[in-house]
Structure formats: C-alpha cells, structure tokens
Subunit: 215 residues, 2 copies
DNA sequence: GCGGGCATCCACCAATCGGGGGATGCCCGA
DNA sequence: TCGGGCATCCCCCGATTGGTGGATGCCCGC
C-alpha cells in the first residue's frame, strides 16, 4: 500500500491496464491517462481472456474492466484475477449499465470499484488513485443499490429453485411435479418469496430476483 | 490508413461533430480523428439538444451521433436535423446497442449509417469518408440483424410499457388504470407480448424481456 | 429440552389470469 | 385501393393464482 504523504508530485505513477472491447472507449481512456503524469497505461485488452494475459505480463496496480465483452466477460475475468492474488491488481469496473445484478456480480467476483461510463474525467482519475491507495471507489447511485440489497433477506435454495421455474413460465402444479413436491408446497414457497422480496406476485418477484442476481 | 493517401483525396478534410453523453467516448473519438489529417472535429455535444445547436453553428459534413442520451435522445435529434435539411449533414449513428428497434428508428429518422462502438478504427474512419462522399455505411452485424428480424420480433412501445408495469406486480386492471386504457386492452397487449416472446405467462415474459434487454 | 428456521403438506375462497372468440378506427406502405 | 400493423374495446369461461389459516417432521443452536 502506498503512502499518501505530503510530497505529491514525487509519488510514483499508477500503472494501469485498460480492458474494454470498444476500441473507441479504450482510446478515450488511454488518451485521457497518457495526458496525466500520475497514471501510466501499461497495457490494454479487448476481452476477458486477453485481460488475464495482459495483467500477468504487465503486473499493473489497477485494472479498468468492462463487464460485457465477447470471449470472456468481465465477471469471470475478475474472479480469475482474484483467484491469483487477493489484493493485486485492484480492479475498477467501468461499465455502461448500472443494474443491481451487474453490480452485485462484479463486487462478489472481487471488484474494488464500480463506475459508470458517463463518469467525468475527474471522477475517473480520482477513482484510479483511490484504488491504488487502497480505498474503494463506487459511484453514488451504486451505493444506494447496495444498501437496498443488504436490507433484503436471502432466499433459501428451495425458494430460489421454485422461483426459477416460475420464471420459466411453469404453473405451480408443473413446478411441484418437476421438484417432486405438492402444488400446495410450491405455493407456500412462493408466498415466502413474495414476503422476502416485497413482491405482490410472481411477475414482480421474477423481476426483482433478476435485478438482484438471485436467479 | 487506406483512404487517406488514396487517389482523388486532394479534397478538403471532412468536418465532423461528435455527439455522445459519455466523456470517455467523446475523447476517444476526438483523439482518433485529430490524429488524422483527412478528418477534422469541429464540434462536440453531450446531448441531442446540444447537438442541434452545435450543428447549426458548425455546419459539419458528418455528425457522429449516439442514440441513448439524457436531455434529447439521438432519434429526435436526427429527425430534427433531417427536418432542417434532407441531405446535410450526413448522420452516422454510433451506438453500443444493436437492437432491431434502435436500428429501425434511427434509419427511419434519417440516419445515413449505423455502426457499433466496437467497430475498429479503420471501419469508423472509412464510414465517415463513405458518408461524406454520399455512400451509406452500415455495420455487417447490423445487416445480419435486419435479416433475422423475423426470428426476434420487437415489442411495440405500448406492449413494452404494459409489460414493464406487469413486471412491477400491477394487475391488469391497475395497469389499465395507470395507462388510462381498459383492462381488456391490457390483456390484448399482453397476449401479443406472450406470442412475440414465446412466453406462456407474464412471469416468463418478464424474465425473457429482461434477458433480452427489451425493458 | 425448547424454540426457530426450513421443507413439506392440506383446504377453502375470492380475485385474477389466460384463451377463445370478435370488433372498431387509424395510419402507412404496397 | 387494399391490406396490415397498431391500439383500443367487448364478451365468456375455465384454470390458475394469491390469501389465509392451519399442520407435521427435521435439524440446529441455546
């Protein structure tokens, strides 16, 4: 961990790798950071798979990671990087979408920060330095999402299974048949699901569960 | 890379305006084009509204236009630009999404080209020159998508709205009340949604729509 | 040993949903 | 001009759901 002392200009530059399948976005980020003395782009990648190689060879301090990419998405790339080393590099997710599902999956995989692509330059640069110095960096809207999540109770395995089948369009009877339980039992499980998710019916329950990455 | 020093290109540089709400993307595009002698960025905008002003003052040859932006989306901006002048500037849509609906709306509004943000530099530059010289420019994937549109029917605006409310757990009657239409009409819309998505009921429809990003 | 969470089961009833018809008016493209 | 897509409305009916109020057995922690 670096020391945040009073001699700022002398500090080492933060070495980063940029991972995004959009050339335009990569160029934008690289252009922005090369104009900054405090941050150096030491590598780039266009997919999760490339990212793993690039990080292995470049050993950056921070990785800027997109989530939705062909050939190895961001989530699994984050998981694998974390499996190699629990603290290095720090991983900043930079994505277009802010769905609860994505946020949850990314942070669960081991991301240290979560920003949206409409973030301003200053926010981005600040976030990179925050991560390099050991702090987390999360967009304001994302925090509110996390707060909602913590307040929400988790579904049991059985409840989640029932909900998954309901999301496939099966009737309660069909679900019961599939799981070898009675229709009445299915209804009971769903009642519990509705109560836990605050959903009035199965359609809303499906949506909420999908948003939260519970399915 | 190719067109630059090609034959008849003694021509003037192509003057373009970049419209995108993501600062990162704007920078990437501007950085790319300022490195090219044959293309000059004469303006930029972060919303549809700004785009209208910027085009009026800069009179560019080509506009690079994002679709989903706050404060005036790309579709209406394209329509208004076309209402002013049917041929100038040429409009190249550059977006992250390749949904059938977006493509149709953009082209119907009067766009001359449609590229995705994962396009390579050379494709982008070529497309700008194509447009400046009066040719259309459409990404290969977009064409393929237009071809398979029968396989994946899009929801109408009304249908999508009804489904959204159903996903919030509203009953058909409540949806009708909210949209100021009859409950019977709501049922009809949902019937169409089920048919289009191949869903047996609303729960499945919600899940499928969520998966496909139709909501 | 006793509570408590979990999974399982049951019955009853009102409300809702899905499926089958058919109907109108509008607008746009062939 | 004639479809065809879209949005709107109406009917009826059986199947399904959601709400309520129970019940049993199991396992775990206190």
């Amino acid at each position: 961990m670096l020391i945040d002392d009073a001699a700022p200009a002398a500090a080492e530059t933060v070495r980063i790798v940029v991972v995004d399948d959009h050339p335009v976005v990569r160029d934008g980020l690289i252009g922005m950071f090369t104009a900054m003395s405090s941050i150096t782009v030491v590598g780039q990648a266009a997919s999760g798979r490339e990212a793993l190689e690039m990080v292995a060879t470049c050993d950056p301090d921070v990785v800027l990671m997109d989530l939705r990419m062909p050939d190895g998405d961001g989530f699994s790339a984050i998981s694998r990087l974390r499996a190699r080393n629990r603290t290095r590099p720090r991983i900043l997710v930079l994505t277009t979408y802010d769905t609860e599902r994505d946020v949850h999956r990314a942070l669960a995989a081991g991301a240290d920060g979560f920003l949206l692509k409409d973030a301003r330059h200053t926010e981005l640069i600040r976030a990179v330095h925050d991560l390099a110095e050991g702090r987390a960096a999360v967009a304001p809207g994302v925090l509110a999402m996390l707060a909602r999540r913590d307040a929400a109770p988790a579904l049991t395995e059985r409840e989640a299974n029932v909900l998954r089948l309901a999301a496939d369009g099966l009737t309660n009877r069909a679900i019961g048949h599939r799981l070898a339980i009675g229709e009445a039992t299915v209804k009971t499980h769903l009642q519990h699901v509705y109560a836990k998710l605050g959903a009035p019916d199965r359609a809303a329950a499906v949506r909420i569960a999908w948003e939260r990455g519970l399915v």
